[in-house]
């Protein structure tokens, strides 16, 4: 067991980090928010970096890496609030041609466990070439142009544009329930990576601001109440990091444990870390944190989007409880 990030993994992480920092500075997020929340050129470059083909076999033109690397890369994407249906496209790489190259953008909708009340809310409908729909029966492929939908004027996350549709065509069935369930767990792991990235970046922003900003004649980061707020942010980040890495490692090597259990734990704690850290980041920024200009809000809004996709927190808590119940039964059986 060596749970540390390997040197190759570190290099990959740093590469994606410097790419994202270069291409998605704060000003660019503001432009994207104005301009519809998507950047096809960026998407192509992400494809070239291997974001979508990371887990594809080398023989098929992929990088032949696994979920460990994927969650690291998705954390970097999360750190800069990279827009677009990133997880859906990576999940679809072996199902749909052209995804690896960034030529075909795949989005999706998760209806597992029954649709939510109200209309379907479809993310990035104007930008996707293929829409996947996942439900308890399996996985379908829909043509976005065949969907009757109208744009939502004010989506919560300005970088995640939405359309609403009252109904969906059936589309073409791609896989059955087992495959869909597997993809859903994998998607939750990728989102956990993005959520971890949000927890990280909002802590970094808070610390940088608190060191700089002076009130009462000294940096506000010297006030113990704020120091402790940020210490708690750090703990949440580290808890999320550990769980997300463990989810990656468990998906890559089923011998080390139950992947659904590890992924549910990761999604739960990473959602909490992202939401709580983004909120704390805004609070620490004070009045400036409530402006559009300070980018903290993009991260809080994105965290909300990610929290309720591929299973919300209540659902993952129930899933964690199911695994706990199995262990409890084993314990009782062992005693008897």
């Amino acid at each position: 067991m060596n749970f540390q990030i390997s040197e190759d993994q570190r290099a990959l992480q740093e590469g994606v980090r410097s790419f994202c920092e270069g291409r998605l500075p704060d000003e660019r997020l503001a432009e994207l928010a104005e301009g519809g929340g998507f950047d096809r050129a960026l998407w192509k470059d992400l494809a070239e970096l291997g974001v979508f083909s990371l887990r594809r076999a080398q023989a098929e033109g992929g990088l032949g890496l696994g979920f460990c690397e994927s969650v690291l890369v998705f954390a970097e994407l999360g750190r800069r609030a990279a827009p677009g249906p990133l997880a859906w496209s990576q999940l679809a790489v072996s199902l749909i041609d052209g995804v690896a190259e960034g030529e075909v953008v795949v989005g999706g909708l998760d209806l597992t466990g029954g649709a939510a009340l109200g209309p379907h809310l479809l993310e990035h409908l104007d930008h996707v070439d293929v829409l996947l729909v996942m439900d308890d029966a399996g996985l379908r492929r829909l043509d976005p142009n065949a969907i009757e939908a109208r744009p939502v004027e004010v989506p919560l996350d300005p970088l995640t544009p939405l359309h609403r549709a009252d109904s969906l065509p059936e589309g073409e069935w791609l896989a059955g329930p087992d495959e869909a369930a597997r993809l859903r767990i994998e998607g939750a792991a990728l989102l956990s990576g993005q959520l971890l990235g949000i927890a990280e970046t909002t802590l970094l922003m808070a610390v940088a601001f608190a060191k700089e900003r002076e009130q009462f004649g000294r940096p506000i980061g010297g006030f113990q109440a704020l120091k402790h707020l940020m210490a708690d942010m750090f703990v949440r980040q580290e808890v999320a990091r550990s769980a997300v890495y463990a989810a990656g490692a468990t998906l890559d090597d089923p011998l080390v444990g139950s992947a659904p259990r590890a992924v549910s734990a990761a999604k739960l704690v990473a959602s909490e870390a992202a939401l709580a850290n983004a909120h704390a980041c805004i609070q620490i920024h004070g009045g400036m944190g409530f402006t559009w200009e300070v980018p903290a809000h993009y991260f809080l809004k994105r965290a909300r989007v990610l929290e309720c996709c591929f299973g919300g927190s209540s659902e993952h808590a129930d899933e964690s409880a199911r695994h706990l119940a199995e262990r409890a039964e084993a314990l009782v059986a062992a005693r008897a």
């Binding site: 809310l121 559009w292 200009e293």
Partner: protein
């Protein structure tokens, strides 16, 4: 420890309720949030209607057009206004809830006569110019200079978080009149006519995507010295009067709104089903909502207790910090549970039929400002621990001079 409203309170309630039942539906829906001119017209129009019906300035002196009623009648007023879904106080916020009350307490006879009746009649809109880019939690560090020149002050500086700036006629502005005094002792409180030359107002968009706030740049603005409220350099004391009002009673109607929000969430939870199971039958969600309802009841009792204590004492007490702290964090928790209940619908701020999604998604963003504005939660905790519990004050490592380093 009597919670029963008096007969006259109940009579007042009955009259007000009857009037609202007619007036509110007749008044029509509010304009879009970006149309400032229409918003001013709508909000002041409603204030005018209130005034004409005798429901403006419930606890303001009669001589300025108020009703001079008790604090409990003021509570009845808030309850009924919220119950009837009456228009929000809107652009009248600063004038009615802290600028006006500060004038009543500290203004000159001339200032009161000039402004109070017009505020009540919806003829005068006020904004607030307290904070500056470098003076947020440390408000007393403000640097906007006012230099006396004959009968005027010449004011230059940069204010931020000026609510309703684009439509305001006057502003309550804090300025530094003595830069050599300790920082709390060189401040004055000015009534700033917003149409004076040298004032530039720039919108400051919030994370809501709205521009209810502005930055205000003041470049050698000549303000008549008679617009100063209170003595020169005594502005910090007056500011604290303003802040007590801002932290104390100003939230009452929002609290009642919050009770309605919770009831709407509950009605929704009782209707919404997933896999045939009502959200309300989920003990987790149901108990969270029940728990929040209990806390809201406790909060409302807390408001009644502090209103009665304030009426006995004459001014809102420092206990207002406890009310503000608890209310603002409870508001955030309620919206958080709301977002949890809505799930993906909470990602859409457009109205969806029969769903409270736009309400909750908007409020969950808006509520982020509550623990920051009018003194952050951290500042409120400092006030409680130092002024109520008597714990040692924060160390002040720098000399308390106003001049920047």
């Amino acid at each position: 420890m009597d919670l029963r409203y008096s007969e006259s309170d109940e009579k007042f309630r009955a009259e007000l309720r009857a009037w609202l039942a007619e007036a509110v539906p007749a008044f029509g829906p509010p304009p879009g949030i970006h149309d400032w001119a229409a918003r001013r017209l709508y909000d002041t129009g409603w204030q005018q209607k209130l005034f004409e019906a005798g429901y403006a300035g419930i606890n303001w002196p009669r001589e300025f057009g108020g009703r001079d009623l008790s604090a409990t009648e003021q509570l009845v007023y808030y309850e009924e206004i919220a119950r009837a879904g009456a228009p929000y106080i809107g652009v009248n916020f600063v004038g009615l809830l802290h600028g006006g009350p500060t004038l009543i307490a500290e203004g000159s006879a001339e200032q009161k006569a000039r402004h109070l009746p017009r505020i009540l009649r919806g003829e005068e809109v006020w904004c607030q110019g307290f904070s500056e880019p470098s003076a947020g939690s440390d408000l007393a560090a403000l640097q906007t200079r006012a230099v006396r020149d004959g009968d005027d002050y010449v004011v230059s500086g940069h204010k931020i978080w000026c609510s309703f700036g684009p439509v305001a006629d006057f502003g309550e502005f804090l300025v530094r009149t003595d830069p050599d005094a300790p920082k709390h002792r060189g401040i004055s409180w000015l009534i700033l006519p917003m149409d004076l030359p040298g004032i530039e107002i720039r919108p400051l968009p919030t994370l809501m995507g709205e521009s209810d706030f502005s930055e205000v740049f003041l470049d050698n603005v000549r303000v008549p010295a008679r617009n100063r409220v209170g003595a020169e350099n005594d502005g910090w004391r007056i500011t604290n009067v303003t802040l007590r009002f801002e932290r104390g009673t100003a939230f009452a109607s929002e609290m009642i709104n919050l009770q309605q929000t919770l009831a709407k969430l509950t009605a929704f939870a009782k209707r919404v089903t997933s896999d045939g199971v009502r959200a309300w039958d989920d003990a987790d969600l149901r108990r969270r909502l029940g728990h929040l309802a209990a806390e809201l009841d406790a909060l409302w009792a807390m408001v009644k207790l502090s209103v009665c204590e304030a009426e006995a004492a004459g001014i809102p007490g420092v206990g207002a910090s406890a009310v503000k702290l608890f209310y603002t964090e409870l508001n955030q928790r309620i919206n958080e549970v709301g977002m949890r209940l809505l799930g993906r619908a909470g990602l859409c701020r457009d109205e969806i039929e029969d769903m409270p999604n736009a309400l909750i998604a908007g409020r969950s963003l808006q509520s982020l400002s509550l623990t920051i504005a009018a003194g952050t939660s951290q500042i409120q905790r400092n006030i409680i621990s130092e002024r109520i519990l008597g714990l040692p004050r924060e160390p002040r490592p720098t000399a308390e001079k106003a001049k920047p380093a």
